[in-house]
């Protein structure tokens, strides 16, 4: 029943689109704005299976692989920054006093405005794109990790001292384990901003990637490419999000025992 109810909006949207598309196409069979599902399917299948004449690549898979690689590297850098700085800020009061205001200011810089600086510094290659994703997602993730550390009850830190733990053991056995699930939540929330920065960077300067492709074919009004690509990007984001949630539930089972998790 829930599955059926959940499917209604999807089916409704598809129905409205199909009706609008067939109305336009019956008026003008060469219309490009609302291609039929069949046209989109054919184009998408061609991009996934037929090597491109000039490069010999399977366009869809090269685009997907390159984009996901950039996304993964950028978010990976963010995770490392979040763990090191987040735990230091949350755990050491002096580091917190020194860095928290700076971080609060940095996180207000609209990341896209940094993109020209990144292109000038790192050139138009991969580094600038990865750096944009990291710059855009790291501040928020650092703050969530720092908050997660602050949320650990003071009692637990005192308790672990009375069990004879060194500072290193305290961080690795009490602080880090309690931070992991919160970091994964931050990562999931950062996924869509990360995609925005990825697509923007690819749209401006790139030769491959999902963002590059949709902005390239925009010139030819190739909605039969753009629409399936948007759906494909959405599907990828959805799958990554679900995978992270399932992973977190399985590995950090203790964190999901109380309350509900989305």
């Amino acid at each position: 029943m829930a599955l059926f109810l959940g499917a209604i909006p999807f089916l409704g949207l598809a129905g409205v689109y199909a009706a609008a598309s067939s109305a336009r196409l019956s008026a003008n069979p060469a219309d490009k704005l609302l291609p039929s599902f069949e046209q989109m399917g054919t184009t998408f299948w061609r991009m996934a299976t037929v090597p491109e004449v000039r490069t010999g690549d399977l366009t869809l898979w090269v685009d997907t692989f390159d984009s996901l690689q950039r996304l993964g590297l950028g978010l990976g850098v963010s995770v490392l920054l979040a763990l090191t700085f987040g735990i230091a800020i949350g755990f050491v009061p002096h580091v917190r006093s020194a860095l928290a205001p700076f971080l609060a200011a940095i996180s207000l810089i609209p990341p896209i405005t940094v993109l020209p600086i990144l292109f000038i510094t790192f050139g138009l290659g991969e580094t600038a794109k990865v750096a944009l994703i990291a710059v855009g997602t790291a501040p928020v993730m650092i703050r969530s990790v720092a908050q997660a550390v602050l949320d650990i009850p003071r009692e637990q830190i005192v308790k672990v001292q009375t069990l004879g733990a060194s500072v290193w053991q305290m961080v690795t056995r009490v602080v880090l384990p309690q931070v992991w699930p919160r970091l994964i939540t931050a990562l999931r929330l950062g996924l869509i901003p990360a995609f925005i920065f990825l697509i923007s960077a690819e749209a401006i300067a790139s030769t491959t990637g999902l963002g590059y492709r949709i902005f390239l074919v925009r010139r030819y009004l190739a909605m039969d490419v753009i629409l399936p690509y948007v759906a494909w990007i959405t599907l990828l984001a959805f799958l990554i999000d679900r995978a992270l949630l399932l992973f977190s539930r399985r590995i950090f089972r203790w964190a999901f025992l109380e309350g509900e998790a989305l």
């Binding site: 009850p153 009692e155 308790k159 009375t162 069990l163 053991q169 690795t172």
Partner: protein, 266 residues
């Protein structure tokens, strides 16, 4: 022979005086219960004994040496909540102390070392009645089970002093009685000195061999925070448990409403 020696202890937070002129000498093996009204500084006193906080002036010494600046394994602690680690199962919560002691860098034991550490805590597990629940996480335990685990965990390092900060405050009365039996048994077995802060006067008289009442001696109606609390009653309960606590002590712990209105109108 005094074991814990407190001399001219004071604690201030800014302008607020919490404790003043606390002098105390406690013999080894005493079960010391501490009562007092809310906000009278009894928990602060306990945190100073734990080195979680530092006194503003005065000295505290254990066995002749001043307290170290940080909490150490020779003083165990059980809080009202959050004493156990939510990310570890019951068994792992108990193995943790051994892991800290042996694995300096990883803080973890593997393979045979881990199974022998698990075997070492098996007796403790059955002692506190959590053998069947050893693979559960704290969130899956009842409040009483969590506190039993917290007490067992605090005793793993065989502390000379056990500090309890309202450990049974959140438990049902029926479960409290079971916890009292467990605590008294462990106290006798391990020959510890216990300091227990409680809000329940009957509990204080039942468990303690010595009862301390914290209260303010001096009052300034214009600035209630100007004076701190000290030990106003110090009762020896070794002769046997007192079933009916004296009313003057009950009045200190549970101030009657009309007294507070009197203080306001004067």
């Amino acid at each position: 022979m005094s074991f814990v020696e407190v001399s001219r202890l004071t604690k201030r937070y800014g302008d607020t005086q919490v404790l003043e002129r606390v002098n105390l000498s406690v013999a080894k093996g005493t079960f010391c219960t501490i009562v007092g009204a809310s906000g009278c500084g009894k928990s602060t006193f306990l945190r100073i004994l734990l080195s979680q906080e530092v006194q503003s002036s005065g000295t505290v010494s254990v066995d002749g040496t001043a307290l170290p600046p940080e909490p150490t394994p020779d003083r165990g602690i059980v809080f009202q909540r959050y004493s156990v680690f939510p990310q570890l199962t019951v068994e792992d919560n108990l193995v943790l102390a051994e892991e800290f002691a042996t694995a300096r860098w990883t803080g973890r034991l593997f393979g045979s070392a881990r199974s022998s550490a698990k075997q070492a805590v098996a007796e403790t597990l059955s002692n506190i009645g959590l053998m069947a629940a050893k693979d559960r996480y704290p969130a899956q335990l009842s409040g009483g089970m969590q506190q039993r685990l917290a007490i067992a965990q605090a005793l793993l390092m065989r502390p000379k002093i056990l500090l309890l900060d309202e450990p049974f405050g959140a438990l049902d009365p029926g479960i409290r009685v079971d916890m009292h039996d467990l605590l008294l048994r462990l106290w006798r077995e391990m020959e510890m000195t216990v300091f227990m802060v409680t809000h329940d006067i009957h509990e204080a008289f039942k468990l303690g061999t010595r009862l301390l009442v914290f209260d303010k001696v001096r009052h300034d109606p214009d600035s209630p925070e100007a004076f701190g609390a000290t030990v106003t009653y110090d009762l020896d309960l070794k002769s046997g448990p007192v079933t009916e606590p004296p009313t003057e002590i009950a009045d200190i712990i549970y101030p009657r409403p009309e007294e507070t209105t009197d203080a306001r109108s004067s």
